[in-house]
Amino acid sequence: MPDWEALRDAGSAIKADVLARLPELLEELERNVSARGGVVHWARDAAEANRIVADLVRAKETDEVVKVKSMATQEIGLNEALAEEGIAAVETDLAELIVQLADDMPSHILVPAIHRNRTEIRDIFLERMGDAPPDLTDVPRELAMAARAHLRRKFLSAKVAISGANFAVADTGTLAVVESEGNGRMCLTLPETLITVMGIEKLVPTYRDLEVFLQLLPRSSTGERMNPYTSMWTGVTPGDGPQEFHLVLLDNGRTKVLADEAGRSALHCIRCSACLNVCPVYERVGGHTYGSVYPGPIGAILTPQLTGEKSDLPYASTLCGACYEVCPVKIDIPSILVELRAREVELGGASPDTADRVWKAAMKAASFAMADGARFRRAARLPRVLRAISRHGVIRRLPFPGSLWTRSRDLPEPPKQTFHDWWAGREDER
């Protein structure tokens, strides 16, 4: 990729431009989606977005919808909200299906079931899927085919689909979803009605800008030259695909992030997960530990900003800078972390002494973790992240760009205790 840095520069500048002109670009998007037969809804918070979606689904007189993996709908707890209304939301991404059948929590943006091994997945399918072949083995290909058969029945009969969006083009009204399995295409193509929930920061100004992000995203997220499937649609195409399209534009704290001059570039994020894969803290503690929908370095800056609540997430970092180096849109995560830490001290009434103590402890924690992973294994709780893919205590392959690391060496099995637990225990000892 000879022009990687030039693509990052363009991606970063396009996202900065989007934020600077957000009101007019959103209005332009709304105009273009509406002109092509789509309906645009605005949701100030999670409750409002969930209400809108539930009402749209109920109007279609169905109690089951198919879903494409989406961070935005996970953030607003859409599945739970729909369940309360008696509507079952069926996750169709293989990993999300595993997580959903197991009544579990995702642990990674891109591979949410990475904390489950093949045998666990087979057992989950046999117990919970309902139509899994009784002689199902734990060969990944067989497991994937069982999911294919199970979900195909759902796809063929679903009336309503719900998706997120990777990009929305203001000047044409075009939406884009980037995926691998084809479940996205199924949801975006077969049902009569499509509802897309999208954060207001997912815009790009022009169609041409897609040429930048369609090169940046696949390489940063899975290391592929291009993901197997990308779907783009503009409103409704008569006779082809859903004949009713709703776009829900979601705020839910994003305007709070936008108001923060120092932290607003967190809204550049295109959810590629590259920063998770290189983060030494994430590697150690895993996704569940962050206790937020957005884990890893980006979660450590985005979550406290979105919720506006006090958080210790900004301390879950060694400030090593690897996240900044791999970020396809050049979000300076370490600098924002430092800023958020300083603010915790100012706003939280903590003394500079406290900050210093916490800082030193955090640094110590990191070096402690990296110096001797075995200490953590004596701990009681099981985050289980990454452990599932370890064999005899080592991990031989990580997703890109971690794969560059594990290509030539093994990674020790992550600890069983979470950062939070260890932290709490440490405080108790004092």
Partner: protein, 250 residues
């Protein structure tokens, strides 16, 4: 309670307030085109390499030989060898992935004497001239097959809008020679006919071309569907067609 739209736009304007970042020109120093011309030998070689890497079956044929290739690929029963083209010019993987594990109830179809293929309304009729014992179903926006009917169809043949060599990508834009999005999704075998002059080197070249009709529904396809969700072990062929044949026609 104020209207959500008004309030969100007002929140954004307040958030930007006095510290609105200056809209700066976007630097576009990245490559807007490759060094090789569309359809050149260099570009085709890269495309074939990428497609094979993604486990697609690639067949390079002349326009005159295309009907024979399609007849062979679409012939009913297990006799057809998808790895051998009419020219005997084998390019691509000839793994038998598509037949090793079938969903319950579909085994019987393999041995059937007659197979079925769905085609878009604007497909070149000459392409299908060599088919024998193949039921040809035409699907269109005006007269669409149901999803269940498509699920009962063995294969689909479409043309393409553009292909990107560097990423091994084929783009369909829903025009009459490519058809509705559903037809290239539900059947298990997709035979995609790409003319060599449709192959560009880079993503920006393809986007520039597609930008002429931005409202068309697009499907970008880079190999068969895949997942790495189970222990990061790559499995090809999850929900989309499990077998992708690309006929590269010069």
């Amino acid at each position: 309670m104020s209207d959500a739209r008004t309030e969100m736009l007002s929140r954004i304007r307040t958030a930007l307030g006095t510290s609105t970042p200056e809209p700066a020109p976007v630097p576009r120093e990245y490559r807007s085109a490759g060094e090789h011309a569309a359809g050149s030998a260099e570009v085709l070689e890269v495309l074939v390499d990428r497609l094979v890497d993604y486990k697609a079956h690639v067949h390079r044929v002349t326009a005159a030989d295309l009907p024979e290739l399609l007849a062979e690929l679409l012939a009913p029963g297990p006799g057809a060898d998808p790895g051998r083209s009419a020219e005997g010019q084998v390019v691509g993987s000839s793994s038998d992935r598509s037949s090793d594990i079938l969903p319950a109830g579909r085994e019987a179809e393999v041995a059937r004497a007659r197979s079925s293929v769905v085609v878009p309304p604007g497909i070149e009729p000459a392409w299908l001239a060599g088919l024998a014992d193949v039921e040809v179903l035409t699907d269109s926006r005006e007269a669409p097959l149901s999803a269940v009917e498509l699920d009962g169809t063995d294969a689909v043949v479409t043309a393409a809008r553009v292909a990107v060599a560097e990423t091994g990508t084929i783009v369909l834009d829903g025009e009459p020679d490519q058809g509705r999005r559903a037809i290239s999704l539900v059947p298990d075998v997709h035979v995609c006919v790409v003319r060599t002059d449709q192959v560009v080197q880079t993503v920006p070249e393809a986007v520039r071309l597609l930008d002429a009709d931005p409202g068309r529904p697009l499907t970008w396809i880079s190999g068969p569907s895949a997942t790495s969700d189970i222990e990061l072990d790559r499995v090809e062929g999850v929900h989309g067609p499990r077998t992708l044949h690309v006929a590269l026609v010069s």
